[in-house]
C-alpha cells in the first residue's frame, strides 16, 4: 500500500493564515490504514488547526469529510457542494488523491496535508517499511523475493557494498537492514545461491520514472 506521514502542523498552518472556509478531506484507503489520513486523522488535524490558528485566524471555519478512495473521481463526487462552499481544500490523501482533487475541481485551491512516502507494508503496530520502488520491471524472481532497488540504499544489483555490517546498512544501521544480507540469507534458504554468481547487467531504467511519467493503457478495457 501507499504509506504517508502527516506534514508538520506549522507547515500546514502556514498556508491557511488567510483562509475563511477550509475543507479537510481524508481518504479511507491506504492512508487510513497507515494512520495518516483517515477519518480519525481528519478530526485530529481539524482540532489541531483550530488551536494553531486561534491567534492568527480565529474565525476560520473547518469542515471535515472523508471519502473512500480520493484517487478516483467518482468517490469524490459527493464532495461537490462542500468543495464549492470552501476557499481551500486540504487533502489528507496521498499525492495521487491530492492531484485527483485538483484535476476534478480545477478552480479550487488544493493543498496537501501529507507527505506521501513509499509503497510498503506494516511490520508491526505503528511501523511501516518500504518494499517497492515501482521501477516498472520487477526483478524479485532473481533476488529471492527481496528487492535490491527498493531496499538497498544504493540499489545495487550485484551484491552488497563494503558498508554492510552485522546485517545492517551503513546509511542507518538502527533502521535499515542490508538488503543484500536478506537476499543472501533467502537465496541460501531456497537453494538458489548460484544466482549470486550471475552478473546482472545495467538496469533498463526506461520503465521507471526515469523514462518520464508513465501511463498504462489496456486496449481491451478501453470503452
Amino acid at each position: 500500500m501507499i504509506v504517508a506521514k502527516r506534514k508538520p502542523l506549522a507547515e500546514i498552518a502556514a498556508n491557511l493564515q488567510k483562509v475563511n472556509k477550509l475543507l479537510i478531506v481524508g481518504c479511507n484507503t491506504c492512508v487510513a490504514v497507515c494512520l495518516a489520513g483517515g477519518e480519525k486523522e481528519v478530526a485530529v488535524l481539524a482540532s489541531a488547526l483550530r488551536l494553531a490558528l486561534r491567534q492568527t485566524n480565529p474565525t476560520i471555519q473547518i469542515t471535515q469529510r472523508c471519502v473512500e478512495r480520493q484517487c478516483e473521481e467518482e468517490f469524490n463526487e459527493v464532495l461537490t457542494e462542500d468543495v464549492a462552499a470552501c476557499d481551500v481544500v486540504l487533502s489528507m490523501a496521498c499525492g495521487v488523491g491530492v492531484q485527483t482533487m485538483a484535476e476534478q475541481f480545477p478552480d479550487k485551491i488544493v493543498y496537501p496535508a501529507l507527505n506521501t512516502s513509499f509503497m510498503g507494508r506494516p511490520l508491526e503496530r505503528g511501523v511501516w517499511s518500504e518494499r517497492c520502488a515501482g521501477c516498472g520491471n520487477c526483478v524479485l524472481d532473481k533476488f529471492g523475493g527481496v528487492c535490491p532497488i527498493a531496499r538497498c540504499s544504493k540499489n545495487l544489483l550485484n551484491g552488497p557494498c563494503g558498508g554492510s555490517a552485522n546485517g545492517k546498512c551503513e546509511v542507518d544501521p538502527e533502521n535499515i537492514d542490508c538488503a543484500w544480507q536478506l537476499i543472501y540469507d533467502r537465496l541460501k534458504r531456497i537453494g538458489q545461491l548460484d544466482r549470486l554468481l550471475e552478473i546482472e547487467p545495467p538496469k533498463d531504467w526506461s520503465t521507471s520514472r526515469h523514462g518520464g511519467p508513465r501511463k498504462i493503457v489496456r486496449e481491451d478495457m478501453v470503452l
Binding site: 563494503g162 554492510s164 552485522n166 543484500w180 544480507q181 543472501y184 549470486l196 545495467p202
Partner: protein
C-alpha cells in the same frame, strides 16, 4: 599488456607494487596538489586520486589525474557510480584517457549521507561490477555501453575494490569472482587491521584460483592515534580495528609518538601481507596524511621503487 600502464607493467613483471592515495583539495587549490605530488613522487608506483571521497566535494578526479599525468606521475583515477550515470561516466573516461590516464579504479561510491551534501540526489545508475564490465568492453571490444563503436582506443588498466571485512562474509569472495568475470585487472582492498579475517579471505581467494586472474593489492591505513582507531570502529561500517591494535596505539601515547607507532604498525602490516600467497602489492591510504607514506614504504623495505620498461 591490456593497457601498458606503468602499474600494469610493474605488476606483470612480478614486482611487489606500491600504490598510494592522494586526496584532492576542497577547491581548485593547486598548491595542495603540488605538495601532495611531491610527497608521493618516488615512493609509490601509482597514485590513486579519489573521486569526491566520502561524498565530500573536492577537485575532480579527472582534472587532478590530468595534472599528475602531465608531470609524468602515474595516476589511478577513481570513478564512483554515485555522482554520474552511464553517459557521464563514459564521457569522463574518454576525457581521462585523452588526458593520459591509464588506470581506472571502479567503485560504487560512499553514500551521500556521509558527506557535505547529504540532501543531494544520488545516481547509482550502474554498480561497480557493471562499471567494470562497461570499461572492459570499451577497451576490449571498442563498444560503449549502448553498443556503439568508440572512436579511439581506451587502454585502461581496470581496478576494483574489495572489502574482506564487510558482511555477509561469504559474499565477499563471490563479489571478487564476479569482478574478475566482469574484467577487473587489479583489486585494492579495504584497509586491513583484522589480519585473521584478511588471511581467511585470501585463503578462499587462492582456493578458487582468483589470485591468478587478478592482482590483489592489500589496503594499508596508518593510524594517527588510538582515537582514530576508535573512531573507525564506531563510525565506519565494514572496517574493524581489533582491540589489541587499539591498545598498542593507546600505549604509544599522543602526537608524534602515536604517529610514529602508527607508521611502524603500517610497515609491519605491509611486511605481513607480503608473506600471504596471492598478495601482489599494497595500497596505502593515509587520509590527509600523505607525509606518512615515504617513511612507511621505507620502513617496509620497499624503496627505491623499481623502474620498468
Amino acid at each position: 599488456m591490456k593497457s601498458g600502464s606503468k602499474l600494469e607493467r610493474i605488476l606483470a613483471s612480478g614486482h611487489f607494487a606500491v600504490t598510494a592515495e592522494l586526496g584532492p583539495p576542497k577547491g581548485p587549490n593547486l598548491e595542495v596538489v603540488e605538495r601532495k605530488m611531491q610527497l608521493l613522487t618516488g615512493v609509490c608506483d601509482a597514485i590513486n586520486v579519489t573521486d569526491n571521497q566520502t561524498a565530500i566535494v573536492r577537485l575532480s578526479s579527472v582534472a587532478t589525474c590530468a595534472i599528475l599525468a602531465q608531470r609524468g606521475l602515474e595516476p589511478v583515477m577513481q570513478m564512483t557510480c554515485r555522482d554520474r550515470n552511464r553517459l557521464a561516466i563514459q564521457a569522463d573516461v574518454f576525457g581521462a584517457v585523452a588526458l593520459g590516464v591509464r588506470n581506472l579504479l571502479c567503485l560504487t561510491g560512499d553514500h551521500q549521507c556521509f558527506g557535505n551534501h547529504p540532501t543531494a540526489k544520488n545516481v547509482y545508475d550502474l554498480d561497480s561490477i557493471q562499471l567494470i564490465r562497461m570499461i572492459a568492453r570499451m577497451r576490449d571490444e571498442g563498444r560503449t555501453e549502448g553498443g556503439e563503436e568508440v572512436d579511439g582506443a581506451v587502454p585502461l588498466f581496470i581496478g576494483g575494490a574489495a572489502n574482506p571485512f564487510g558482511d555477509p562474509f561469504e559474499m565477499r569472495v563471490i563479489r571478487l569472482a564476479k569482478k574478475v568475470a566482469a574484467g577487473v585487472d587489479f583489486i585494492q582492498t579495504q584497509c586491513i587491521f583484522d589480519m585473521a579475517r584478511f588471511k581467511e579471505w585470501m585463503k578462499r581467494v587462492v582456493d578458487q584460483g582468483l589470485h591468478e586472474k587478478v592482482y590483489i593489492l592489500a589496503g594499508i591505513m596508518p593510524l594517527k592515534s588510538a582515537g582514530a582507531a576508535r573512531y573507525i570502529n564506531s563510525n565506519v561500517a565494514g572496517i574493524y580495528v581489533p582491540e589489541p591494535l587499539v591498545k598498542r596505539m593507546a600505549a604509544a601515547g599522543r602526537g608524534k609518538a602515536a604517529q610514529a607507532e602508527g607508521m611502524k604498525l603500517a610497515a609491519e602490516t605491509i611486511q605481513e601481507v607480503r608473506e600471504i600467497e596471492g598478495v601482489r602489492g599494497v595500497h596505502i591510504m593515509a587520509v590527509e596524511w600523505e607525509e606518512a607514506i615515504r617513511p612507511i614504504v621505507e620502513m617496509a623495505g620497499l624503496l627505491p621503487r623499481p623502474v620498468v620498461e
